[in-house]
Amino acid sequence: MTHVATKMLIGDRLKYIGIIVGVTFATFLMTQQLAIFVGLMVRTYSLVTDTSEPDVWVMDEKVRLIDNVRNMSSRELHRVRAVDGVEWAVPMSKGMAQMRLPNGEYEFVSIIGLDDQTLIGGPPKLLDGATIEDLRQADAMFVDIDNAKVRLNNLGPGDEVEINDMRGRVVGYAKITQSFQFIPTVYTTYTRAGQWVPGLRNTLSFVLVKAKPGVSPEELAERIKAETGLAAYTRSGFSWKTLVMYMEMTGIPAIFGTTVALGFLVGLAVAGQTFFQFMQENVKYFGMLKAMGASNGQLVKMILTQVATVGLTGLGLGVGLTALFEPVMSLWVPENAMSLKLNWQVFTAGAVGILIILTVAALLGINRVLRIEPGVVFK
């Protein structure tokens, strides 16, 4: 009877397309908005994501999120190094500066200063054969390629800039996770960063720490906190703290949450109403099947087959459209401005939304069918 159920559904082309469009649209709206939301939120802790070497981030206890840095004395580095369980600890500075481009224009950039000796904390990927050691050259810096092309007038290797009247020279492109604030990012050495941004001189924004083998990052973070009085977080802990602060401080969750809810409600209305109408129009056929001896169980199974067919098709198309959204939009919108992250969690959330919608539609249909009097065929 599943074949009969499928043919009943698909045979009515217009109605079938209507239901599919409704479910697809609802899926697309929910997953696309969720994907954009997740993509944006992931950017809030992009520097933590890109800095994979350390296990623990140490900072002033007043720091609330990664973009709101309060610099510490450089002495704190030695205190952290003295904590038992620390394999290594290196400084990282982070600040903002105004950069004068070769064409005379100015742009604010975020400057990341890496430990002079180890250069730990560099970008996750360098392009065109550049290596982290290139930062040891005079006035050297890496610039993130996406912003370089869009915001920094195609700034590239070999170009010279001015930062607070100091010379800087681009020695390579870095491919990084874009930040939430869409600010171009520049990597250089800790000392050079202190020269370019006076506020960073002899101060630290963060101490990046590696745990000794056998010491858990969580345990080490607690130990550092206890012994130094500084704030110390694991990578995931600092990411989560930053994420939560952005969500609390901005209206982003409310805005995206509203759109996702709207998508859900639209899907519920369209799919639910269309499916119910489909059931109404087929009432006499379900009644006929009942008269011919089809059990309630068989009829319910038919409805569930129809719901599953619609659900899987609409879900697949909706998620597919979401996946295509970024590549299509990137034809017009700069790549670094797109922030879609279609991970399994977003897919699952979309699927759960559709499941709820179709469960409601199925229950409406099942309720209708179970109440059908087989005698309706004789009317």
Binding site: H3, V4, G293
Partner: protein
């Protein structure tokens, strides 16, 4: 064909049926007594609203009776639970509905195979059997057509095929010729008698179409929920003998 088997197929004894409640309660069947035998084609005739379809519905267990007994091939339908009635219809009854009630999105063969699919037969086997029955109805070349591509007569043949495919003991037809012209109606009724009637099977046709009365072995006339007469061809007052 003249029915020779005397075995009782359907027995209704003192059957009452009411609709509605309280002040709106109406009696659709009044102490109806009727018998139908295996091997015969019995027609229930009467004006619209006289209770023909209601009587048919209680015989096959679609409606519950409010009084009396209903027995079909030895099984007391009035005493069955809802689930047993469903199973009973699946096994014992073939339906040909008014306006055919063919699923428009299924082919002729798929429509005809429905009772077997409902009974749990594998699809391939059900389709094969449906094809055989359709062929016996002269529809072998139409098995893959959709109802909208077929004439009224052809659709009725599909409906009859569906009613026969699972080898039921009781075939019930509700106004089988109402949507057909005289010539087509005559042809399908001939085919129905030819294919459907067997010594172990009973056919009950509900109709108010006088053009087909002559196909009946017996005619039960109903009026206002009562069986007023049951006659054979040649009997005085037999509807087939009355010019309409």
């Amino acid at each position: 064909m003249v029915a020779v088997a005397q075995k009782l197929a359907v027995r209704c004894l003192d059957v009452d049926k009411y609709y509605g409640k309280g002040n709106a309660r109406t009696q659709a069947l009044h102490s109806c007594d009727i018998e139908a035998r295996a091997g015969e084609l019995l027609m229930l005739v009467g004006p619209s609203g006289c209770g023909k379809t209601t009587l048919l519905s209680v015989i096959v267990g679609i409606l519950d009776v409010d009084g009396g007994e209903v027995e079909v091939f030895g099984e007391r339908v009035d005493k069955m639970s809802a689930g047993r009635k469903t199973a009973f219809r699946k096994r014992m009854v073939g339906f040909a509905f008014q306006q055919f009630n063919l699923l428009p999105t299924l082919t002729a063969m798929e429509n005809a195979s429905l009772p077997l699919l409902i009974a749990g037969e594998p699809r391939t086997k059900a389709m094969q059997r449906a094809g055989e029955v359709l062929a016996s109805m002269g529809m072998a070349d139409k098995v893959n057509k959709y109802p909208r591509e077929l004439s009224g007569g052809q659709q009725q043949r599909i409906a009859f095929s569906r009613a026969l495919v699972h080898n039921p003991r009781l075939i019930v037809c509700d106004e089988p010729t109402s949507a057909l012209d005289s010539k087509t109606g005559e042809a399908v009724m001939q085919q129905l008698r030819q294919v459907a009637l067997r010594e172990d099977r009973c056919v009950i046709v509900v109709t108010h179409d006088p053009r087909i009365f002559h196909h009946a072995d017996r005619i039960a006339q109903m009026e206002d929920g009562h069986i007023v007469s049951v006659t054979k061809p040649g009997d005085a007052g037999h509807p087939a003998g009355i010019k309409h």
